[in-house]
Symmetry: C2
């Protein structure tokens, strides 16, 4: 049997929150249903954040409620895990009222990024994290954690690897079942991935680590290869490579789910996902966000044999 | 000292021959001079093929002559190696008359691709190869060889790995100093790269092998990483990722030189190339081919630290 890799789809959240075009909650529900139908089993559906700051995520409560009700009715396979991003205890209240079954919390490995992104120090963010995690525990809700700027900070440049290890440990201690290490600005290279994971595995099982690469400089899949070699089996990605900076059209966001799935399947790993369905979702989504998505598979398609006779010379 | 990786720039040939916009020989000379100034030392400058079939390569003789004269006058560093593609002995005559110092010949690992691409069987192509190589030897000209469709054929699908090994050996026997293994249609995955290189290294030193990846499905740099791990030190790439199929706008060509150089430098390898200069050439070239080039570095740039105070929230 081939080794199973877990794909954690962040398109409806990390992807769409960085698109210029805002999709209605109903369209986002359609998107999530299509992802589930293609075989995706872990999906971040939205974020309980201020609509003023992140208007793209407006209506996340509606989405969570709808998906929870579909699951309760047996209209979604039981092994589907849906998650929503929660920044603080206020967000957690909204999430609880929306029947979420898993929440994702986040913090940065760089002090300046933490201050600029969520307007608090790393220590303060861990305090918020703890409040959310405690509330989650009480309500028997799973907690996933993101650690951002692991491979570089836009303000500070290099980030302390010792700090990355320490914060990862801390997040697990506070109750996260998994920490997703983010290359937020897309600067990581495979040697750096190897170096950091070697430091982490001295103290933490890599089964508790997911990797979250952005493909800003084309190194996303190369970093995945190194992570696989190190023993990582959980990766975040977004359908079509949705996302990136909305004000820099050529910049790309997360690695594209279909490019990741193509590569993994060709290498002999299994994901449970139907690649051709992902490509259909890519083309459907491109119409709604009104641009071609950066995914390579979306453009090039699954390799097919061309009948020799039909080829024009 | 960091390990040196050889970058073989194919943008002026493999890149431009697949662009819709045709550049004049004078512009292509400017392009090559800029590449040399950035530190690139191995460049394929053009092709001695029929202008009817490949109009983009018209004027390759002029380019070769000009570059040879600049080199003779000492206006180009001595360690710069320039090469031109030569399909047969007629092309070789033209190349010799244009003062080339190195020629590249090519063949396919798949019978159908050979017939569709160069209208002859693999055996016939090796015969042409031999004629060119013999002529080159007489004239003390170096010969490089391309083997295409190594990782998959658009007509036949899978390609025999035993055949790849046999043809690589044959090309070296006939006089090539290096064989460049091409993922012509961009389907390769890192496990396949590892498997094929393991078969090759049983019979051939990997010092005589270069890898030529296309980034059609985003796996180009991932395949480079595996090749580096196997001991490969020579890679083909094209500035900006120029090329691809001119009739499929989203399809990409060779891996982009700047993305490759960025990744290699971050991993601690040296190339002798100034990355920031490559990015300038990218932006210059984009104007001339009238499109943004697919390179990620061209869009995202070299990571820079952003002053915290200046960031808008």
């Amino acid at each position: 049997m081939s080794k199973k890799i877990r794909i954690y789809e962040v398109g409806p959240r990390d992807g769409l929150q960085n698109e210029v075009v805002r999709l209605t909650p109903n369209l986002r529900i359609q998107f999530i249903k299509k992802l589930i139908a293609s075989g995706v089993r872990h999906i971040e559906t939205g974020a309980f954040v201020s609509e003023k700051w992140v208007p793209q995520m407006a209506g996340s409560a509606k989405i969570s409620k709808k998906m929870a009700s579909l699951k309760a009715q047996g209209n979604i396979p039981k092994d589907v895990k849906l998650c929503a991003l929660v920044p603080n205890s206020y967000g957690m209240k909204l999430a609880l009222a929306s029947d979420v079954e898993e929440v994702a919390v986040f913090g940065a490995a760089s002090e300046s990024f933490s201050k600029m992104n969520i307007n608090c120090s790393i220590d303060e963010s861990l305090e918020r994290f703890k409040q959310v995690a405690d509330e989650a525990k009480k309500n028997k809700i799973r907690v996933r954690a993101y650690l951002s700027t692991v491979f570089g900070c836009p303000f500070e440049g290099e980030v302390s690897e010792a700090k990355v290890v320490k914060l990862t440990e801390k997040m697990l201690e506070l109750g996260a079942y998994e920490v997703s290490l983010g290359d937020t600005i897309g600067v990581a290279d495979p040697k750096q991935v190897e170096r950091i994971l070697k430091k982490i595995e001295k103290r933490i099982s890599l089964k508790k680590i997911a990797m979250h690469f952005h493909d800003t400089r084309g190194t996303g899949l190369a970093n995945v290869i190194m992570s696989l070699q190190m023993g990582i089996t959980s990766f975040d990605s977004s359908l079509g490579g949705l996302g990136g900076c909305p004000y820099a059209p050529a910049a790309t966001g997360n690695i594209a789910t279909e490019d990741l799935v193509y590569t993994l399947h060709r290498m002999g790993y299994s994901t449970g996902i139907e690649l051709s369905e992902l490509i259909k979702i890519n083309h459907w989504m491109a119409k709604h966000v009104k641009r071609s998505l950066p995914s390579k598979l979306g453009a090039a398609g699954i390799p097919k044999r061309v009948p020799v006779k039909k080829r024009k010379l």
